[in-house]
């Protein structure tokens, strides 16, 4: 389903080429200041329109507060935020129905929804919907700040196309005339101890559940992650130094037994190359019943990973807001 969360529950809706995309937040505490301006920084970061390697498509992306806001504060009733889709060219997509683009959800969506899906621009599967996640993330970050204003949830691009010098990675992709993948890292400082449940709702379980909702994510690792698989125990275990649980190293990434331990929460995600590449590709045309070559025209990001950090922060903040409510570390009225 298109919902996530127990006490801070988001429901996402909309299609790339429909009238609007939006998000509903149920369980949002009452009394949080909400104004359009609070959203602009993160929304602008997501647009990434001025960065090399991102699509020139620009949308106003003004959040419209449909419900749940009164006198510029949240009311405790469901908060609905929508974004209108202004800048769509549906004509681009009509002819593509029979030609599922490799790497896109075209084929699987069509199989799952019997051909009734809105296939224009990826429809409900479009990265466009991440603007809604970013908006919910802005609200979630406000909740984190109420617990402790020193909680900082920051994600950054760590690697593009295997290069830690990101500009080099992008340059390689431009030179190759192809899209490219990347790695994004997220660090959250000053979280309280005790978030996460022992078995199925471990902090890692909930974060990864939400993170894999971000289109193009294909892997996640906490702390030392995959490197831990190559390590010996004594090197991997983080020695506890004081009664607050500070550890000498942080190979656990701030989570032990599925529960936050008060050290920095750190994890990285693998973002695949943008599925829409300018290169010639092969796919199966269900109308002509033959394999054909084609290339994707139009405005597309060369490296979608460039736009992921703010979305990853948002998703992380959303999970943490829910966990903070679940463990009663934050009030229901501000």
């Amino acid at each position: 389903m298109n919902s996530f969360g127990t006490l801070f529950r988001i429901t996402i809706f909309g299609e790339s080429h429909g009238p609007s995309v939006g998000i509903n937040i149920d369980g949002c505490p009452a009394g949080i200041d909400i104004s359009e301006n609070d959203f602009l920084e993160d929304i602008t970061r997501r647009q990434g329109g001025t960065q090399v390697g991102t699509t020139p498509r620009k949308e106003a992306d003004i959040p419209i507060f449909l419900t749940g806001v009164f006198n510029n504060k949240t009311t405790g009733a469901p908060l609905t935020i929508i974004f209108e889709n202004n800048n769509t060219r549906s004509g681009d997509y009509e002819k593509q129905k029979a030609i599922p683009r490799p790497g896109h959800a075209d084929f699987t969506a069509s199989q799952k929804f019997g051909g009734f899906e809105d296939y224009r621009g990826g429809g409900h599967f479009s990265g466009r919907l991440t603007v809604c996640v970013v908006a919910a993330g802005v609200v979630a970050k406000k909740i984190l700040a109420k617990v402790n204003k020193n909680i900082v949830c920051k994600a950054h691009l760590k690697e593009v196309g295997g290069e830690t010098d990101i500009e080099n990675g992008i340059a390689k992709a431009i030179q190759a005339g192809d899209s490219v993948g990347g790695i994004v890292e997220c660090v959250v400082k000053n979280l309280p101890i005790g978030l996460g449940e022992p078995f199925f709702d471990s902090a890692e379980s909930l974060i990864s559940h939400a993170v894999f909702a971000i289109p193009a994510v294909k892997g996640i690792e906490f702390g030392a992650g995959f490197a831990a698989a190559k390590m010996f125990g004594v090197a991997h275990n983080d020695a506890i130094q004081n009664k607050e649980g500070l550890t000498l190293t942080n190979n656990a990434g701030g989570i032990v037994g599925g529960i936050t331990n008060g050290n920095d929460l750190t994890f990285r995600i693998a973002v695949k190359p943008t599925s829409s590449t300018p290169k010639m590709q092969q796919t199966y045309n269900s109308e002509t019943e033959s394999i054909e070559n084609f290339s994707v025209k139009g405005r597309h990001d060369l490296c979608i990973a460039l736009r992921v950090p703010v979305v990853l922060e948002a998703v992380t903040a959303i999970v943490l807001a829910d966990l903070l409510l679940l463990t009663q570390k934050v009030e229901r009225i501000f």
Copy 2:
């Protein structure tokens, strides 16, 4: 919470040194043949007692069907399976309460539950509970087989301590007198197309959610995974070859847009070294209020990853059983 799943919902309970550990399956279809013998192979695989690198602790691990089975078939009512804990030496643990073991949940559990947790042998956080997951996995695999008897869900150890020759990896650990991590890969063949939901309940989301419930898992990657982050788009995209969606390559790991595409579902997980290492370690003693050195005595696995494959298969089968029910690919009465 200690539950997972929507239509095939498991709830896990128990502690390492309590009278028993168990699992409840709600929503299990009626009419599935259930006998003790069906469980022995997977339970034995999990014990791993004869393998080098695994603990010599042996438990009978006979599944006891408490509810939901009648005339050796599931009834459609909640199915409860318990395992008695016979082979426990609680005396080992009494003195350790003040000394949280690095890498274990001792510290976080104590903080979360206010010191009321059953700390003996890891209590509810013990790997002992994975025997329950394995049992539920046996039931889940039967459901998969009802959809298509060619569905095969298999996990295997791919790497230990960085070595693809697993015996070498274990030998290194024995030589080092330390525990060691590993990588486990899972492949599921012949799954139907269409499992998974577009946004928050993508197949990757649900699988990773469940997988991070397995103690010691610190990373997961689907298909090309982290390698995708280094790739160009044309190399990563899997070219579609026919109307069934067969692809030339399988960098997506069988999931596109969060939905299975009919190709092999493939993913790998990173398992950290067993937290209990024979090596001397440092931790903070809350009674003496000082850092102290200690080493873990007793029976412990050198490489917990050796025992993970069957647990990973179980978790995967559990998620897939739920997804098959959600998408009506399997009946509620067999």
Copy 3:
């Protein structure tokens, strides 16, 4: 929370005097024909503007399909329907904040949400939101019809102010210059056997859960209901007549052991008198800190029960759509 359902899950949002009210349906099967016209009959029934005893407030109540509809069919992605609020006079309410109206949610909402709630016109607690429920009910009824076109879900007003001649009941209220309560009955014919789960999700549990979301409902009874408490067993038990489970009588109201038995599903609800009465009433003014007399001005229904039948049908159809999906009696693609 403001959601209901497992596989056909609705989330309701909005306030009486905000820009709009709306509903999101997640899990709606794909391929259902959707046009504005399909909604008009039920929406008009709910308005009840021409009936004696109902408020003259008229709203266009045109459903706006924000998401999830493409080429006039549902897509399988979340379906969002909103209704704009055109006809609001917020000035009426500003001065009332300190004076909680008896029978209304003013006091409890203010206590729960710390005074941040949108108190204008009942805000999120307004009967206005039932237009959204009616819209979701229209979609749910289409799902019922796909299972069996003979399934009929009909509710009617059975009693007003104790009178089974409804016009008499209304006349009594007009004469008394007061609002009045009523009883609404719902009957669903030709349902399949087997809907509902044995324990906590009995058909009665789910229906009553949803029904008590309708403002002003204070009781529900299935089949013989409260009369059953006065009966002997042999008179109450419904004798089974054939292998399809047809019974001689229907004191069970079509549900036995929490599961539908194929006979007519029948239940009644008690609707309290409209809280807004023209009569002088007493309440506590938190500003003056004294009890004061006041009467409610403005446009209000004399008998809210008159408008409830279509809402009750909607709620019932929503529950049944979910149960039909849960028991695989209806497909996910039409």
Copy 4:
């Protein structure tokens, strides 16, 4: 499904003639004193073995704490309580499979579960499982007491067979040689204001959801309930008297807008006559394919309503414990 609750979630399992019945409580706060003795009073009340009109079947009904208790306190991990079934005579039931008893779940269970259900003694549908609900209620009552030791949750039998003098009602049934129904009322004093959510999780919604899980319940009404349907507004509205929300009357039954208002929570339920009556009845025999007369032999309650009060208290306390956690009126560690 067989679960109920969000933060204090119970899962019930077992069959009348299986080895045991049980309940799992997930989300139970840590540090609650738990001893066998705490359960005996309520379990004994449920047995009702010494009352006229109740079955002479006696079971030891000793709660066995399988998991989640350590040093006589809850640990915060899932709490599992089972009761062994000692006193069963399965032979009584074997021949009845083809003869569904009117008023029982025999027919619907068989249809729903394809004949795989454990039909002995009602199987999973047996009133036997209410002993598990009572046990969970004991734990829930302890949570209520932590919020305010003056919270009192009490249910009593109000009417039997239409007689408010209960002994008269029972005498009538004995004279008639038949089973008889009754009405049970529940009152909860000193609850905090603010429990319940505006729309789908109103306090009435959640209570009625849980209450209809009790076998034989066919109706529920809050406050004035069905009588409200006959009332005028000014008589029904409860005038607010002070800033704590005390009302002159309590026709609302302590819930307005779905949210508790601090006045006594009051509601009544209708309990149908025990389905097993000594009288001759008619049903359809699926083996002989004909209608036949039969009467139920064996030990059965004449008036099941006699045993319901303690179960109703338990169910109510369970719902309230969850609502108290949801609204952060009670801690997660005691």
